[in-house]
């Protein structure tokens, strides 16, 4: 199973900035192993972000997003104690969801 994300969410001046680090290989499918065999593509394709259970942002990613991806976005409103949840699904169908509290 994939490792947990690191989610930071901070409210200030009427908005909440969310910063996320995800643990994922983001293999492009263009690299070769030492034996010369193509390493199959393996990357996060879709991401969704929720604030208190409501989806606020979704994203589609290609394999050119860096390994161990970073995502930052800004929610209108939000306050300390609100819950931010991030979910992803990769091209192999693997999923991961994590949650953090706005500070």
């Amino acid at each position: 199973m994939a490792d947990p994300m690191k989610i930071r969410a901070q409210a200030a001046d009427g908005k909440t900035t969310v910063r996320v680090l995800m643990a994922h290989e983001m293999e492009t499918g263009q690299r070769k192993d030492p034996a010369g065999k193509i390493i199959p593509a393996w990357y996060i394709q879709q991401v969704s972000a929720q604030l208190n259970g409501a989806i606020v942002l979704t994203a589609q990613w290609g394999p050119s997003i860096s390994k161990n991806p970073f995502l930052q976005f800004t929610v209108r409103g939000g306050k300390a104690g609100d819950r931010v949840a991030i979910s992803w699904i990769d091209n192999s169908g693997e999923r991961r969801s994590d949650e953090a509290t706005v500070s």
Partner: protein, 296 residues
């Protein structure tokens, strides 16, 4: 492994005018006509301030943009879990592991390693000491883990553990002990290895790390014969490597230095690698640790 991207000799050295023409063609093909091209050209005609900045300033800016969100944190979190989790043939956690400050004492341990351990009768760095704990406490085969390639299996666990343990000394100052004869012998050995020239290129560690203010390409090379400063050199490893997207401990850092020195392969936790750790660590006395850092 390099990504298999085409070797493109494009706008790196291409004049801006050529870039503009190229872009105009691209967008024209896409159906952008007069108005769009006009705007585009207007935008391109005043390329931003970038050109006046020095490469060093630009690199510093690049590093700053990444600094606040270091993926090393993902490894720290995993390392903490691995430290506390019952694992290995004996199904026991590492919480009784003695890193030099007493069993289970993690805070401050990193900045006084490598050091002499009475139970093994030798000087050990963080990674070789962790191997001892994994073998003695958890029943893992230390030799087998040492022989495992970096980035695979239990070497990944080691890297994560190292990230978390180092993070528990963040902001502390290096104080690698020299009280015992064996610690001083290792310092002297490390110094000799540091200056040891060999291989087809005649390189030693000192070739690149013997003077202040030197670079390979754009990479600054810390002078490691003295304290290079807070969070520089020995005080910046382990680190998350952007190039591989992996966490590198000092063992892997030294290993790749020897590779680029065109030397044969140093064993994981071998005497040479630990002696170099003692030499660099003692020289870095007083330097503030920022590990795990973020490195190219």
């Amino acid at each position: 492994m390099k990504r298999q991207y085409p070797d493109w000799q494009g706008p790196r050295n291409r004049p801006l005018e050529a870039v503009r023409r190229h872009l105009t063609r691209v967008f024209a093909r896409a159906g952008v006509f007069a108005a769009g091209v006009g705007l585009l050209a207007a935008g391109m005609a005043s390329p931003c301030c970038a050109q006046s900045k020095s490469p060093a300033d630009s690199i510093a800016e690049y590093r700053k943009m990444l600094a606040d969100d270091n993926p090393a944190e993902l490894f720290e979190a995993k390392g903490e879990e691995l430290w506390k989790k019952a694992r290995g043939p004996k199904n026991i956690s590492l919480e009784a592991c003695d890193l030099g400050k007493g069993p289970g004492q993690v805070a401050g341990a990193f900045v006084s390693l490598p050091r002499y351990f009475a139970d093994t009768g030798r000087v050990q760095d963080l990674e070789s000491r962790l191997l001892t704990c994994m073998q003695v406490l958890q029943g893992f085969d230390a030799e087998q883990i040492a022989a495992t390639p970096f980035g695979k299996a239990e070497q990944v666990s080691l890297a994560s553990l190292v990230a978390w343990i180092a993070a528990q000394s963040r902001g502390l100052h290096f104080d690698v002990p020299q009280g015992r004869t064996e610690e001083r012998r290792m310092y002297e050995l490390g110094k000799q290895i540091f200056f040891y020239r060999a291989g087809p290129y005649d390189f030693a560690c000192a070739t690149c790390h013997g003077d202040d203010g030197k670079r390979i390409r754009l990479q600054e090379l810390p002078r490691l014969t003295a304290n290079p400063g807070d969070g520089v050199g020995f005080a910046a490893w382990p680190a998350y490597r952007l190039s591989t997207g992996e966490l590198w401990g000092m063992q892997r850092r030294i290993n790749d230095c020897f590779r680029q020195q065109r030397f044969p392969y140093p064993g994981f936790g071998s005497e040479v690698t630990i002696a170099l750790g003692v030499y660099m660590g003692v020289n870095a006395r007083g330097a503030e640790s920022i590990a795990p850092a973020l490195k190219r």
